[in-house]
């Protein structure tokens, strides 16, 4: 029977939630890696039982864990993330130059075609790839060595490469996003990169429409139309219809266009979801109401989704990797909060319920639709 597996990374461990396709009752396993920060857990689309997890803490650094049985058991694999060559420097918060230093893995993106190939987005911003199931890692250093690299600067959470999108129709095309450098695209499987930030405007940088320097929070695409990209920027929800060559704003009637995650419906490429947050200094929903906003028109026209979500006194945040969808019909939507709840909708967002609550602060949510 088809089912769903929800992979939840939290500040103090990973949790795995499973349900059959009704999505009514959920089993919770965990904490896995109790006490560690789990920035991200993601499964291979080729082999759903192959999972990768990013495990770290301030004392003992970065580990990568791998499971071949859907998260029942785990094995630590390679954690040697060594920048290619002499890393050089990037811009620090105060405008001075600062050495590139590896801190942690923010995001793991398994290949669409090979369960042993997986990409890692790291802080300080760089892209690594493993082709042996995470045992060894090699930097795709053309990204970090882009001529704009020394001008990249950290966002409040660090200078992280947090988003990796693989184009299902073109194996050579990869999109990434970095806070606060912007979005980049490779058309040669990660060897060379170009910034794709034309059309973005950001008030926090000296040149508001600069080629790089934008705090992109997340980008997403629908696999059937990989040239159409949707972006949640620090402020502004953006859309590109030409693989990032040019962006235009689609914030429309959102109560706030600040936020972190953005997702697209599994079966409706023009239906997208964001979670508005009040501001960059007040990381909670406007008016204390937790609302997911849905646009069925690819942006600009948004409707609040509130049924089952707290509509008073709610001051949680939803981080950039903490919103995901399943592929069932109707599409399931899932998000996790800094308050430790994971909310789910089995009807494309029309109604919601917590499928687990009182976890540690949720950092990431990924969903696998199981055959």
């Amino acid at each position: 029977m088809a089912g769903v597996r929800v992979l939840v990374g939290t500040r103090k461990g990973a949790f795995i939630l499973t349900s059959d396709s009704t999505r009514e009752r959920w089993d919770v396993s965990g904490p896995h890696f109790a006490g560690w920060e789990i920035y991200h857990v993601k499964g291979s689309p080729v082999n759903p039982n192959r999972l990768y997890a990013s495990q770290s803490n301030g004392w003992f650094g970065q580990l990568i864990q791998r499971s071949d049985d859907g998260g029942a058991t785990w094995e630590p694999v390679g954690n040697g993330f060594v920048y290619d060559g002499i890393p050089g420097t990037h811009q620090w918060y105060d405008g001075t130059q600062h050495p590139w230093e590896f801190t942690r893995v923010w995001h793991l993106e398994p290949s669409l075609t090979d369960a042993d190939t997986v990409y890692a987005g790291v802080e300080d911003a760089a892209l690594f790839r493993s082709v042996d199931g995470g045992m060894t890692w090699q930097e795709l250093s053309g990204l970090r060595q882009h001529t704009s690299g020394p001008s990249w600067q950290p966002g409040a959470g660090g200078m992280c490469l947090h988003t990796i999108k693989l184009d299902p129709s073109n194996p050579a095309r990869i999109f990434v996003a970095i806070s606060a450098a912007g979005a980049f695209r490779s058309d040669d499987a990660g060897t060379t990169w170009q910034p794709i930030n034309r059309g973005l405007r950001s008030e926090g940088i000296p040149d508001q429409d600069a080629e790089v320097g934008h705090c992109v929070h997340s980008i997403t695409l629908h696999p059937s139309r990989p040239d159409v990209l949707f972006m949640q920027k620090h402020w502004d929800v953006m859309r590109s219809d030409n693989a990032g060559e040019l962006w235009h704003e689609v914030s429309g009637n959102l109560p706030s266009d600040f936020g972190f995650p953005i997702a697209v419906h599994a079966h409706e490429p023009e239906t997208i979801y964001v979670v508005p947050i009040k501001s960059d200094s007040e990381h909670f929903p406007p008016d204390g109401k937790l609302r997911v906003y849905r646009s069925r028109t690819g942006g600009n026209e948004w409707e609040p989704l509130t049924n089952g979500l707290p509509q008073s006194d709610c001051y949680v945040n939803v981080l950039r990797d903490a919103l995901a969808v399943d592929e069932l019909d109707s599409c399931g939507i899932y998000f996790g909060t800094s308050g430790g709840q994971v909310y789910a909708s089995a009807d494309s967002g029309d109604s919601w319920a917590p499928i687990v609550r009182d976890l540690p602060a949720v950092m990431s949510v990924e969903v696998q639709t199981l055959p």
Binding site: G35, G58, W59, F60, L63, G80
Partner: protein, 98 residues
């Protein structure tokens, strides 16, 4: 045999309970003990010292015989009691919130 006590998170990672014992070739130093430890438990690589620079991670400390040895040179001999196996070499996560 050299006795080593790991912090709880690293015991879990290495699937150990309590102290471990290592066969270490002389001289008995921080470096030789950590080399032997990482050879026996490869999952610990990078968790105690940087994989490239071999520098102790900032929030990890080395204690033995009621002394803080964290800032001793990595090739300095460890106390005789550690080398003789009568005292453990303690690898400690610094006390901090989190």
């Amino acid at each position: 045999m050299i006795r080593v006590l790991l912090p709880a998170h690293l015991r879990t990672l290495a699937r150990l309970k309590g102290e471990l014992e290592l066969q270490v070739e002389a001289p008995i130093t921080q470096r030789s003990v950590l080399d032997a430890l990482e050879a026996s438990y490869p999952m610990l690589r990078g968790t105690i010292r940087d994989q490239v620079t071999q520098q102790r991670r900032a929030f990890v400390r080395f204690f033995a015989c009621e002394q803080d040895l964290s800032h001793e040179p990595p090739d300095a001999p460890l106390p005789d009691a550690v080398a003789a196996g009568t005292e453990p070499f303690l690898i400690v996560g610094a006390i901090a919130g989190g």
